[in-house]
């Protein structure tokens, strides 16, 4: 017990020493040390830096464009052609969870450079794989190497944005995370046009991968060059930033708090509920109105999916900015409580009114996006800015879990209902009830979130100095 307390004290002292340094000097010095903003630097240069990374890595959600040509060119099954994307998402979760502390230590420029190199190299390796018709090289390149770029890139600007916008952290992170949603909107038509021009054979796919890798490297370079950390150097006019105030908790301490795990449940439940719609949006709207006088065509269903993407993206910036005004806990009450209500409305009246079905689905998807975008600011409120990027990285394991859970629930239940001879809206009734239940669980977890106990805080500077003095005296 005494040893444990001593280790804990040593950890707290180390954390405090790091905290006492200015944001600039808190990072490792060297070639990739983060550039400190010079006097007069505008904080409005930081969101485009973040967007250049997020708009690029958001391409991951447009992977499906490459699936049919890969299947015909390399003779792959649907499962095989999905593997690069699936491995990429797994690597996103893992690298965000395990690389978060490195990102905090080395700063946003280092992180964005790693993201650029990995994400672009992933495409270049895939280009080589397609040219040589080596499927495993595409899996390794896009999935493994590119996936590391996804995870490090996703968390790279979060901490810096929160430090630049302490008055509007929700809006700032909302802009960046909206970019992740926007990335697929850009890549989907762009990649499709490219494949149309270059051809769907292996050399055409290789050329498309090559152009993607080079273009994204140039596009992401803006983020690497523009990102700056705010200076706390005394006298640095216009950019002076005092040491962080309020409770500060390290990433290692944060995962020992109930607040972290409550938020983990909140995010997991909210994402699962969103994926529940997103995963089967097109067949769902078709099934719901199949037996009505106004059935939904395949083209209209594609339009519905596009509209959901827009709601997902808009929710990221709109709801996250709203959280700056009404508070983080309240906005999650809306996401989870009103989300459950929307699911109930679809389950009860969805098949009788198309506008009602579409409206409820759009609101659910806007809450899905909002949940992603608001969580960094919620973490900042609870754990401070000290290692918020690393804590965010660890929380993203909830996303990976939900990514498996959501589609599994909806697809498994729909398949069982179909086997039981059901059709139309009744295929999804049970799924919706489960989604409502999950959202209620998330709502309860959000209600259990309380301020973090002071024993997890890094000691305030004065207190830390006292502890250090005591340690040196006893030594």
């Amino acid at each position: 017990m005494t040893v444990r307390r001593m280790l804990d004290t040593a950890h707290r002292i180390r954390s405090t020493r790091r905290l006492l340094k200015s944001p600039a000097t808190a990072y490792r010095s060297g070639f990739m040390s983060p550039p400190v903003a010079p006097p007069g630097w505008s904080r409005w240069l930081v969101p485009p830096a973040a967007l250049s990374v997020h708009l690029s890595i958001g391409q991951a959600y447009a992977w499906s464009v490459f699936k049919p040509p890969l299947e015909s060119a390399l003779g792959l099954s649907g499962t095989q052609s999905a593997l690069p994307f699936q491995l990429g998402i797994v690597m996103l979760g893992l690298s965000a969870a395990f690389g978060g502390t490195l990102v905090e230590r080395n700063g946003p420029r280092w992180a964005m450079t790693v993201a650029l190199v990995c994400f672009s190299s992933g495409f270049l390796l895939s280009a080589l794989g397609a040219a040589l018709e080596q499927y495993w090289l595409i899996v390794f390149g896009y999935g493994f190497v590119g996936g590391i770029g996804l995870g490090i890139g996703y968390i790279s600007p979060v901490s810096t944005l929160i430090k630049w916008f302490p008055d509007r952290p929700g809006m700032a992170t909302g802009i960046a995370i909206m970019g992740f949603g926007g990335g697929a909107l850009i890549a989907s038509p762009w990649s499709a046009q490219m494949l149309e021009s270059f051809g769907g054979d292996s050399s055409g796919i290789a050329l498309a991968f090559l152009v993607h890798g080079l273009s994204y490297a140039v596009f992401m370079l803006l983020g690497v060059l523009l990102v700056r950390v705010p200076s706390s150097a005394p006298g640095a006019r216009g950019t002076a930033r005092p040491a962080p105030t309020g409770p500060q908790v390290s990433a290692n301490q944060a995962i020992r708090t109930p607040q972290f795990w409550c938020l983990w449940i909140v995010l997991c439940m909210n994402v699962t509920a969103g994926i529940g719609i997103l995963e089967k949006a097109a067949p769902m709207i078709t099934d719901f109105f199949a037996d009505t006088s106004t059935p939904v065509s395949a083209t209209a269903a594609a339009g519905f999916v596009a509209l959901l993407s827009a709601a997902n993206m808009a929710g990221r910036i709109a709801w996250s900015s709203t959280s700056d005004l009404i508070g983080r806990k309240n906005i999650y009450r809306v996401y989870l409580g009103a989300g459950a209500l929307m699911y109930a409305l679809i389950a009860l009246f969805g098949d009788s009114s198309k506008p009602l079905f579409v409206l409820c689905a759009l609101v659910i998807l806007s809450f899905y996006g909002g949940g992603f975008a608001t969580v960094p600011a919620y973490l900042k409120d609870l754990f401070g800015t000290y290692q918020v990027g690393a804590i965010h990285g660890r929380l993203l394991t909830a996303w990976s879990t939900a990514g498996v859970l959501g589609p599994l629930i909806v697809n498994w239940i729909a398949d069982r209902q179909e086997e039981a001879g059901r059709h139309g809206a009744s295929l999804y009734g049970l799924s919706f009830v489960i989604m409502i239940g999950l959202l209620v669980v998330g709502f309860v977890a959000n209600e259990l979130v309380r301020p973090v106990h002071p024993r997890h805080h890094i000691p305030a500077p004065k207190e830390a100095a006292h502890v250090q003095r005591q340690q040196s005296e006893s030594a």
Partner: protein
């Protein structure tokens, strides 16, 4: 506070840099949104 940086107006050079940076990310996003709107209208016309 970092918000101080927004209170002291950026130099004219920086204003150009801000505009360039936002156009850099805004143009591809506008293209994506245009394609999205084109596809989304199919819900009402398709």
């Amino acid at each position: 506070m970092s918000s101080d940086s927004s209170q002291s107006p950026p130099s004219p050079d920086r204003r150009w840099l801000i505009a360039f940076a936002w156009v850099w990310v805004g143009l591809p996003l506008a293209y994506g949104l245009y394609e999205l709107v084109r596809k989304a209208t199919q819900l009402f016309t398709g």
